[in-house]
């Protein structure tokens, strides 16, 4: 292999095609790219395509009818209601946690950061189980809840809490490194100049973290709408009542209504695509900012 640059006489360089010693030969590059693209096609492109193909295979009319089905609409409504509760809560949590962690020094900070990551490591099924055991009819607080005519499991509150649990880290995880990296000089300047805390947050911090926050919220929203394992345990799958979109997809699939299953899936797939597009936009924004800062 051509390893030494310096040993090659200059005239040879101009006459033959040469490559840098830190580059692989073209055929290796091509092989590696082909292998990587095959893997990506098998595991990412094809699943995505099969959903969209399945949804529109029998025409837009059939797709529309499946989305308009009363049970589908009720699942969509329930899912939207749940994210309308969960996403704002997790947004406030994410901002509060990132503010406390990025702007202040305190003991046990690494432990707190690890704890915030914890819901991410716990199986969604176990998340659901935890709340069934606490609030289920046979669970710890079950008799008390029944006596007071409160329903958490097999009802909307249970679904809300397991989704809040499962998606708790997403916004905080986006904001913590971002705010840590930005430091606190700008906020200190603003406060020294007489702005109060809220004003400083609104006019100084928020514009700085805007894109990271937007991505965090969109990701949290996509994950909340798509949460399956935890909801499967606590919802009881009551049609038209406690079926979220993913559960409705499961029901349709198990009843061999594949086109309808893919039609409802296509809505969530669109949302997932929007999510990864926004992530790319945020990254390009960041790259551009760094390039400008470097020059």
């Amino acid at each position: 292999m051509s390893t030494s640059l310096t040993a090659t006489p200059p005239q040879d360089i101009s006459s033959t095609r040469w490559r840098r010693a830190t580059e692989e030969p073209a055929w290796i590059r091509l092989t590696l790219i082909t292998l990587a693209l095959t893997f990506v096609t098998l595991f990412l492109v094809l699943p995505l395509t099969v959903v969209l193909y399945g949804a529109f295979e029998r025409g837009i009319g059939v797709w529309w009818a499946a989305v308009q089905d009363p049970d589908a609409l009720s699942a969509i409504r329930l899912t939207l209601l749940i994210v309308a509760i969960v996403v704002p809560l997790n947004t406030v949590f994410g901002i509060a946690a990132a503010w406390a962690i990025a702007k202040f020094e305190f003991r046990g900070k690494p432990v707190l950061i690890s704890l915030i990551d914890m819901p991410f490591a716990i199986s969604p099924v176990v998340v659901g189980l935890i709340f069934v055991i606490l609030f289920g009819s046979q669970g710890w607080l079950g008799p008390w809840l029944a006596a007071h005519d409160l329903r958490i499991i097999f009802a909307v509150p249970g679904i809300v809490i397991v989704i809040a649990f499962g998606t708790l880290p997403f916004i905080a995880r986006e904001l913590i490194p971002l705010m840590q990296q930005q430091g606190k000089e700008e906020e200190e300047a603003s406060l020294t100049l007489g702005a109060n805390g809220w004003k400083t947050f609104w006019y100084v911090t928020l514009p700085n973290i805007k894109w990271g926050l937007i991505y965090g919220v969109i990701l949290c929203n996509a994950r909340a709408m798509g949460e399956f394992g935890a909801v499967a345990v606590v919802s009881g799958r009551i049609r038209g009542e406690t079926n979220t979109m993913p559960l409705h997809i499961e029901v349709l699939y198990n009843e061999y209504m594949f086109t309808a299953a893919f039609a409802v899936s296509s809505l969530l797939t669109g949302l997932a695509l929007v999510t990864i597009i926004i992530k790319s936009m945020v990254e390009w924004q960041e790259e551009r900012r760094q390039r400008i800062a470097a020059t």
């Binding site: 292999m1 390893t3 010693a21 790219i33 292998l35 990587a36 098998l42 094809l46 699943p47 099969v50 959903v51 399945g54 809560l89 406030v92 949590f93 509060a96 946690a97 406390a100 202040f104 704890l115 990551d117 819901p119 490591a121 716990i122 199986s123 969604p124 099924v125 176990v126 189980l129 935890i130 055991i133 606490l134 710890w140 649990f165 708790l168 000089e185 200190e188 406060l191 805390g197 400083t200 947050f201 996509a222 798509g226 949460e227 399956f228 394992g229 499967a232 345990v233 993913p246 559960l247 997809i249 699939y253 594949f258 899936s265 969530l268 949302l271 997932a272 695509l273 999510t275 992530k279």
Partner: protein
């Protein structure tokens, strides 16, 4: 920076934000997880032990842990390859591939589940060709591995990618000018630098696969003793109101998740030290 600023806190809101953070975490998951573990301790040891050592449950551990290990290994190899290709080479569609890597992170697992089973069923786009070679994926253990590979795909790529981007060209140039071939440089210079990131990604992919439910249950077919993953058994026991059985297995999974979290934190600490 200025010493006076460091002494007196200029920035307000520590009490408020920290208070809300701890309150919210406490209510949403710390207290529930604690209560759940407490519930498990009310079971007698015999009940607990017999619940977690049932033959059907043990078979599910083998599949869940074994399948996750194989899937994470596939992701280690191909994740590193994808990261390398994305960072080092320029080709049409690179940006699209880069964005697509996050798909398993954003696409609901149930959607992924029905997509994968449709693809790999014996009549599916991929399954029909594999059928010719006598390979069956849907409703076999291989199907479980396929789903777990899909779900763990972003982790190795996303941990290795930034490290590879930050790797200074000087190291490789020095290695080359000292006479090392490309393979030697890869083995002796690049690989050691990537090792902490590779292991972190491996552990993350493994941890994610271990608890995965939605993308697996459609393609696995859920045949007792053969293609039942542990999370599925938790769901079916909970549905049959066997809370003791479900809680016992859930505790095993929870402890496995905590151990993985410790391993991952350790790896990240190691990587941070190596980086500094």
């Amino acid at each position: 920076m200025s010493i006076t600023l460091a002494k007196r806190r200029v920035i307000p809101g520590f009490g408020l934000t920290m208070g809300f953070t701890l309150l919210y975490m406490g209510l949403v998951f710390l207290i529930p997880v604690g209560a759940f573990l407490l519930y498990t301790t009310t079971m007698s040891w015999e009940t607990f032990w017999s619940a977690i050592t049932q033959r059907q449950v043990v078979a599910s551990y083998k599949l869940s842990f074994g399948g996750s290990l194989i899937a994470a290994t596939i992701n280690l190899v191909f994740g590193a390859l994808v990261a390398w290709v994305l960072v080092r080479y320029r080709f049409p569609g690179r940006r699209v591939v880069d964005a697509l890597v996050d798909l398993p992170f954003a696409l609901p697992t149930a959607v992924a589940g029905i997509a994968l089973v449709t693809l790999y069923a014996s009549t599916g786009w991929v399954g029909q060709y594999l059928e010719i070679f006598g390979i069956r994926v849907a409703y076999t253990q291989l199907g479980v591995v396929v789903a777990l590979t899909y779900i763990g795909l972003p982790f190795v790529v996303r941990t290795v990618q930034p490290v590879l981007e930050d790797l200074e060209a000087e190291w490789e140039e020095a290695s080359a000018s000292l006479g090392a071939g490309r393979l030697t440089t890869l083995r002796r210079v690049i690989f050691p630098a990537l090792l902490p990131a590779l292991l972190t990604g491996y552990a993350l992919a493994f941890a994610r696969a271990l608890g995965e439910y939605g993308s697996v249950v459609f393609i696995s077919g859920n045949l007792p003793f053969r293609t039942e993953i542990t999370p599925l058994l938790i769901v079916s026991k909970a549905e049959q109101y066997d809370y003791h059985g479900a809680a016992a297995i859930g505790t095993v999974m929870l402890l496995a998740a905590f151990s993985m979290l410790l391993v991952i934190n350790g790896l990240q600490w190691w990587a941070g030290r190596r980086h500094a």
